[in-house]
Amino acid sequence: MEAFTLLLHGFAVLLTWKTLSLMMVGLVLGVFVGVLPGLGGPNGVAILLPLTFTMDPTSAIVMLSCIYWGALFGGAITSILFNIPGEAWSVATTFDGYPMAQQGKAAEALTAAFTSSFIGSLVAVLLITFLAPSIASFALRFGPPEFFAVYLLTFCSFVGLGREEKQKTIISMTLGLLLAAIGMDTVSGQLRMTFGLDPLLRGVNFLVAVIGLFGISEILLTMEERLALRGHSANINLRVVLRVWKGLPRYWVTLLRSSAIGCWLGITPGGAIAASFMGYNLAKRFSRDPASFGKGRIEGVFAPETAAHASGTSALLPMLALGIPGSGTAAILLGGLLVWGLNPGPLLFADHKDFVWGLIASMYLGNVVGLVLVLTTVPIFASILRVPFSAIAPMIVVSCAIGAYAIQNAMFDVWLMLLFGVVGYVFKKIGIPLAPFTLALVLGNRSEDAFRLSMIGAGGDLRVFWSNSLVGSITTLALLLLIWPVVSSGASRIRQAIAGGTA
């Protein structure tokens, strides 16, 4: 019950007017960001990060994580009302959400989406509350070899389990790791890959890359697709909410299954997008009436939304406990922690109790307040979409530039952001995933340090990664995951050959 006492302490940290109002600001901004096409959770958080530089870390993380919750809620609004997923993880919500809106049941669909989002996050937050401290205290025993093995596991699981073509994932990841290595080498102090350019001495800033890759490139893509939309408006009243909530217990299996999928994919780097699709598909497969999916079935809204939120929330677990983000947005929050001078990882739980438990408490409170906020203000947010895109687009560009400049007060970063915008645009169009790049860029230095510290400790002997059962099994698992696609495709080929031989 230690977690419970600490959680109460966290609420005490949180309950000041200043923090609560920052929380509201964060939620409103987040829903706004989630609703707007061309802006999403990760870039919303990245752009608004500079606002928090002068705050204390706890207020800052509370505001930023509330932007994240808000964006998760907001994505559902446009999916259901306009059939436009505001976020990639809301795509599966459109399958049944939009048909419901067409049938005049928009309010039910929205209530279902918000409620299931809330349930998904709640399950994930409970998981974080009770699991993260134990993982962190276990990880306190980790030395550099163990940490390197965990980083390796993260990278390998991206390559092995990702759905994109393998070479594209590998390219994205190595590119991220290489960019992370630019600048002063932390161990020897030597300069690497700077080519005599002064601004490169500090290295490529992670947040600048993110703002370009996600913010600017998304604006270019949205502009390309042209924005004409047709949809429904909705008004949620208490009667509808109560009706949907009364029907909720009937879907407990779906809700539970989606939460579990979401938590699993959130902790491993699978992400909210995969979770929402998987939640939807499994709900459909296990349904007695799969044909009714896609025609406006409320279960088809519950399943992906629960999974997406559970995943989005639980992605913070490995970030807090191990310093390894489970998603792009978690990676950006981790970038924020570094800016505020906090070192994410197991020591965070020991050294910065206020911060950690304030954050966890804010997850509970943020989701409750967020639920009430979106249920009551849907019409206002839906009407944002009527603002012409040609007014919103330049404002987003300006916000991106402010964000990029503010990080190091350097004009060079603004140009770098523009470059990353073009790179992100091209990469997205030819299917090179950006998530491995983001992860590699933020973890690059830490994993290299871990590797070289282990090497120094072991006198340059690679066998240190198999020196005890813990580090050995993590390293082996990582390598297995890396070659998994080869193994599984080989196995299926053999199976086919056998099947072909007997037929």
Binding site: L51, F53, L81, G104, Q167, I170, I171, T174, L177, L178, A181, D185, S188, R192, M193, I219, L220, M223, E224, R226, A228, L229, R230, G231, H232, S233, N235, I236, L238, L375, T377, P379, A382, L385, P388, F389, S390, A391, A393, P394, V397, V398, A401, I402, Y405, A406, N409, M411, V414, G421, V422, F427, K429, I432, F451, R452, M455, I456, G459, G460
Partner: protein, 184 residues
């Protein structure tokens, strides 16, 4: 607990004022772009790899030298690019899918060129004046919104940014002659 802004369950239609929807000819195929990107990545890998080789890729007594890891990352990057290049050339994937049509490219440039000019102007005029020009200009010229609306929106937004960052949050942005004249 309801706020009635729009009528409930009424259809909402937002039209894009910017124009034609006839099919537009393709500028380039996804395959050509993929090939170009792989070649660029290969070149990048070679350049960075060479630089790291100069830094030292050996194994000193206390572990790898600074260039060691980045060098092998370059090797992996080069390998993956060559592999991707091979796959793209052999399978001819994406030869028929359009990377971008002429109409799309025009629209992307409509966004990119003003953004580029905005960055250039920021260096001379400061961020706030440049942002006013970008927003007002973009709304008026690209969005075809009435000039007075565009100017007011640009002004209000830039002023709001100035108040938020410069005054409330103490985040310093590039400033130009106008701010100097006003005493900031």
């Amino acid at each position: 607990m309801s706020i009635t802004v729009p009528e409930p369950d009424k259809e909402v239609v937002v039209d894009d004022p910017a124009l034609p929807s006839e099919p537009s000819p393709a500028v380039t195929s996804t395959r050509s772009v993929e090939i170009a990107v792989y070649l660029l990545l290969l070149a990048l890998a070679l350049v960075l790899g060479f630089d790291n080789w100069r830094t030292g890729i050996g194994w000193a007594s206390d572990g790898p030298r600074p260039g060691y890891l980045p060098f092998y990352l370059c090797v992996i990057l080069a390998g993956a690019s060559v592999y991707g290049l091979g796959v793209t050339l052999v399978k001819k994937t994406g030869a028929t899918t359009t990377f971008v049509t002429r109409d799309q490219l025009r629209r992307v440039l409509q966004m990119f060129v003003p953004t580029f000019l905005f960055c250039v102007l920021t260096q001379w005029l400061g961020l706030y004046v440049a942002s006013f020009l970008l927003i007002a200009g973009f709304m008026w010229l690209v969005g075809r919104i009435a000039l007075w609306k565009s100017v007011i929106t640009g002004f209000v937004f830039s002023l709001a940014m100035f108040v938020t960052f410069e005054i409330a949050f103490d985040v310093i942005m590039p400033k130009g002659p106008l701010e100097a004249a006003l005493g900031f």
